[in-house]
Symmetry: C2
Subunit: 145 residues, 2 copies
DNA sequence: TAATTACATGATTTCGAAAACATAAGGAAT
DNA sequence: ATTCCTTATGTTTTCGAAATCATGTAATTA
């Protein structure tokens, strides 16, 4: 569905959000450990999230990544997916045609439309706060056992 | 959503189905041309479809690939996806966790479930005949302009 | 202001899907 | 039977995402 980078990004954002709810910053080493991802690669993805304005960072001693508390509940998954993978998931053709539209549709164009719309709606309405609270309460997990 | 191989496989199957409706066989060169795919690579994908029992083949002069007419309307997309990409699309975790279940769910486990279910339902109920007829009538297309 | 901590970024390597290559094998037509 | 057409299959190469490596930059603290 999404690229590996995007999966890492979503998990990292949830983890950062969880700590930001408690006014704490987290370093990329801790993030990588918690979401089971390669450190150096994770650092790069975090940069993209910073440049996209999804998360903030502070250098130096006691620095780290965080999300301003007021933004946590208003940051939606769609922003992360769009920053990392672009909009191909939402607008790309289900069969990979470079040109696929209402006027020149692929055989499954209409069949995919409802599914893509539902996916888009889910990403547009799911915010980081609810996901972070799920982690915090122990209902959900960021890595395998 | 699907791998490139799977996209080729779906398009090839639709094209073959279209010709099989008219009792014609088609060669892999023609298939590759019609669906805008690399010839050699397409040939390999066709082998997988043959071994999976989705299409049949005849060697020699006037040979080619075809689908027995009675099977066209009862062959569903899910069979092709399963043969090429396996069941990861249906059962894999939306965030890439190797272990993700009701008892140890990722943060978006429930949110993805309904989408995956709808996708599965679509693939299980869409058959090659309707897609082939769409191509035949000129409503839909297998390649870009 | 020097030392330390942690983020930032460009270059390089790895790895697997995708694609291409080369050759074998089967079947129909004559 | 032999020729030729077409599918079948194993090997190799390409290419881009993923991952790593190496180095630079900023900010805090003492």
């Amino acid at each position: 569905m999404f690229s590996k980078s995007c999966n890492y990004a979503i998990k990292a954002a949830i983890f950062i959000a969880k700590h930001s709810l408690e006014e704490n910053k987290v370093g990329f080493v801790d993030i990588a450990k918690e979401i089971d991802s390669p450190q150096a690669f994770t650092a790069k993805i975090l940069q993209i999230l910073v440049k996209s304005g999804i998360i903030d960072s502070v250098k130096g001693v006691n620095g780290g990544f965080y999300i301003p508390k007021k933004n946590i509940a208003t940051t939606y998954l769609v922003e992360i997916v769009d920053a990392i993978d672009g909009d191909a998931v939402f607008h790309g053709c289900g069969l990979g045609l470079s040109q696929c539209s209402e006027t020149h549709p692929c055989p499954v164009h209409d069949k995919f439309k409802s599914i893509r719309d539902e996916l888009a709606h889910m990403l547009e309405t799911t915010n980081l706060e609810e996901l972070a609270l799920g982690i915090k309460s122990g209902e959900t997990f960021l890595k395998s056992l």
